[in-house]
Symmetry: D2
């Protein structure tokens, strides 16, 4: 089914829901989902509406300009319009760990994710065989202190050649430069292996073990310039006990990581995530 | 803050959201919450809207008739209108176990529940002291096979004298007659101490122990004629292990029961529960 | 590290722990794990001990007879002795769904499961490509009403030729005969896509949807003659909401299924599961 | 049932379990629970054993000296011996919030906690009525910057007069001095309203809201000199969404706090908690 998704954001005031729903009704949109949220603290209104395109009274290209003229202009709205065709194009960055990669590829295989994966990029060769077994092109771009800038240039070139819409860091163990991140604002999803904001940075499972926590977690977030501090998309936790070693925590945590990352990808793919003020609204 | 809550239900068709939100906009309603749900299987549309009454352009008594005339009539809508004043009046039925009762009373004490409790009814005297310590009138109505009909007559008389809106069975260990239940359709909330539909009936923790389950649960539901088979409002679970005895399960389960029951009461109080087809829509 | 695992079961009485630990101390066993459980209801004692074999004072083959003579005989103990070498040999049965299969194979790939998989058997061809991509032999044995007995004969022949220790039904959608099951008592692990004992049998997600539950689950259990009624090894749940369709439940549930099944396999591989009286003791 | 609990801690070596269980067997102890743990990182062994005193071959007072002579001395063991009689004596400190207090009192009422509560101390008068309704003496000791030292002197005097064994800070909003804490090492249990180590200090729910986390939590821990940094006894979490205000988080969190604190009290009462290296071993 071909559908359109409208994401709206504006200062809160009376009549917004009425005007947006009048617009969809006027052109005979068959609404699939509508969700709204008001952030009372800052007086902002957010809305997401999805509707079927078939039998809708406006051509795909006319929807944006018409909505701008008839509704958005009156309410100082910022809005984005998405369509579920062509399929979004996702790049995956990995290092050596396979659990998140496998989980994503198996969901694509089974049809759970409606996405194209034109390429996987890695700074190591370890996962090449896995990726190619799934018939996905694999690019090896080694990264070290001396060549980081260069490596990112190569990565960006590949991403642009392949018209990549968003990037998933599936336990990619390199920190991206601000430059890279600014190319893809709120389009780079990372999985961090702790329950943020606890245990920012390297070796969070070891830090969790040292602190003696009874629950560990994982956090999927959009990457921003500050390390592990971007808008949180999804989190999940698992219980651990005193007899669990750091190696146990790594293993228990991996089951959480892969589920959290896949949920975040799913929300992102369905345009259910609105990032603002370093937080996210998730319309699930 | 004085507010109105509108619950709408009708066959799904285009324009419903537009018409309802136009109505609220026309009379300058400051919308607090709007949620909708379409059951695709049966083609039914459900909506809940809450708005501030202050500065709303219709008097309290005029809202229903005006909405009927301007909107509901056109869409064959069934609708209900609620106001958060005066406070809803809740009766509690208990037997001997105190954990759910305490939890409810402590939430009323701390202001978490905006509700009046004109009375507690019990078939035993055990909890009289607790109830009176909270300055709530306690009525002892013993129930056995021979006097059940009579006992229910007394109960209903008390409920009617006290203008009770809804009833919470906080581990009340008697089965209510169909007659009683039909007096209060979707207004009697029960907590069953299992993860329904598993372990219907008496002694569910013992049955769970016998079956060797690894997780136990509790279920809050509206009471219907069929035992433990009414619309489920909320469920929650807790993990158990092989060394837990039936007595442990009872204790672990009580923590789940009280949380589940209190959530169900909260949803009911805020009119966030719509029961239909023996299920519930929960707009939380 | 080479290790031995001793599982003991006997009527409860004083001195059992003392005698078993004296035995391990006498032969200089470096104990890795000891766990015990008493079922008070039936007066039975259960124990699991794991220790390093290197520097142990008895040859591998002498441990059983010596333990029998010095300890087990005195306490009417039944005991089993396992070693983590050679690796256990696991067969996987699948039908068309890939999520559990992928999850297991990816854990073997990453070294999380210390197991050999000599073969995968399926009644369909759909997953052949996946399996062979992991370099695991795939056998297609179609099953229908007319050839069931024959098909099982072929399956058992393959299992015996390959010295299979235990079998995982990774969403294998055929019911095994009593005959088959009796070949592998407590050695066939199934994943059922409901929170047993709720929703036994076919289409549990649809049944859960119809009943309007707020939480769904999955159950890993040993297969016995009665359908979905064998000893439960592990269960887990996930929250669902009124807007989730049966198709959503299937998808949400698959994430639960794969985690539950993998935990059950892990417990089984480490000999941490004791099945008795249609329940399990899990020493994790 | 009268029982003894032995907690043992020593450098790990072969034969410890054998010697301790031989000791209990020799004097005909009916073992109820035995658990052990080895911290491989630091080579330390920990053990907890509980047994019935009736028919045990040593008088209550002779157990410690005999165990010292026959076992502990040989292994450089530190050990503690506890009995479940007389009942432990617990003091509760509160400020204005009632949810944890109610939860504890209702568990004592229903017999879930086998404990005496000789007094509740508060820096406010708000909860006096609740406490006295439960027939527990209430002491009001106001605290401000100028009188803190004096107030603690009064508190300690009351605790000592009442032979208090341990103290529960049930949302007591004052920081105790090092002096006070050193009087009660690992005997002061606090509930912190965040998932530590995230959101140390004041207003953690507001900090969690600002950070946009998807899950909040609560942590029960022993109080040490460093704020919110003592050994963690128990943690639990709850899911929150973008529409939850800080006030919602407070309310959702309170349900978690009371469950976590009560579990920690229960573990402590049953001597199932061993604190060392700023962590805890929990033998549940």
């Amino acid at each position: 089914m071909k559908k359109a998704i409208l994401i709206v954001q504006c200062p809160d005031q009376k009549g917004i829901v009425a005007h947006v729903s009048d617009f969809l009704y006027k052109y005979q949109g068959n609404i699939l989902e509508v969700d709204q949220h008001v952030d009372e603290e800052i007086g902002m209104f957010f809305m997401r509406a999805a509707w079927e395109l078939e039998s809708f009274g406006l051509e795909k290209d006319a929807i944006g300009p018409t909505f701008e003229k008839e509704v958005a202009g009156k309410f100082r709205m910022k809005f984005d319009l998405y369509f579920n065709f062509p399929k979004p194009r996702m790049a995956i960055f990995v290092s050596k760990l396979s659990h998140c990669l496998f989980d994503i590829l198996s969901r694509v295989y089974s049809g759970q994710f409606d996405v194209d994966i034109p390429l996987v990029i890695s700074n190591h060769l370890d996962l090449k065989e896995v990726v190619t077994a799934f018939h996905v092109p694999f690019f090896h771009i080694p990264v070290d202190k001396s060549n980081k800038k260069d490596a990112e240039k190569q990565q960006i070139a590949l991403l642009e050649q392949n018209n990549i819409d968003f990037i998933v860091l599936a336990r990619y163990m390199q920190i991206l430069s601000s430059d890279f991140i600014n190319h893809y604002p709120n389009q780079v999803i990372n999985i961090h292996h702790s329950f943020l904001p606890a245990f920012v940075g390297a070796k969070p499972y070891h830090a969790a073990y040292e602190r003696g926590v009874k629950i560990i977690g994982a956090t999927a977030h959009y990457v921003t310039e500050e390390l592990d501090a971007g808008p949180i998309i999804e989190q999940e936790v698992a219980r651990v006990r005193h007899h669990n070693t750091p190696a146990d925590l790594v293993q228990i945590g991996q089951d959480v990581e892969k589920v959290v990352l896949s949920k975040a990808i799913k929300y992102h793919l369905e345009r259910k995530v609105l990032a603002y003020r370093n937080k996210t609204i998730i319309f699930y």
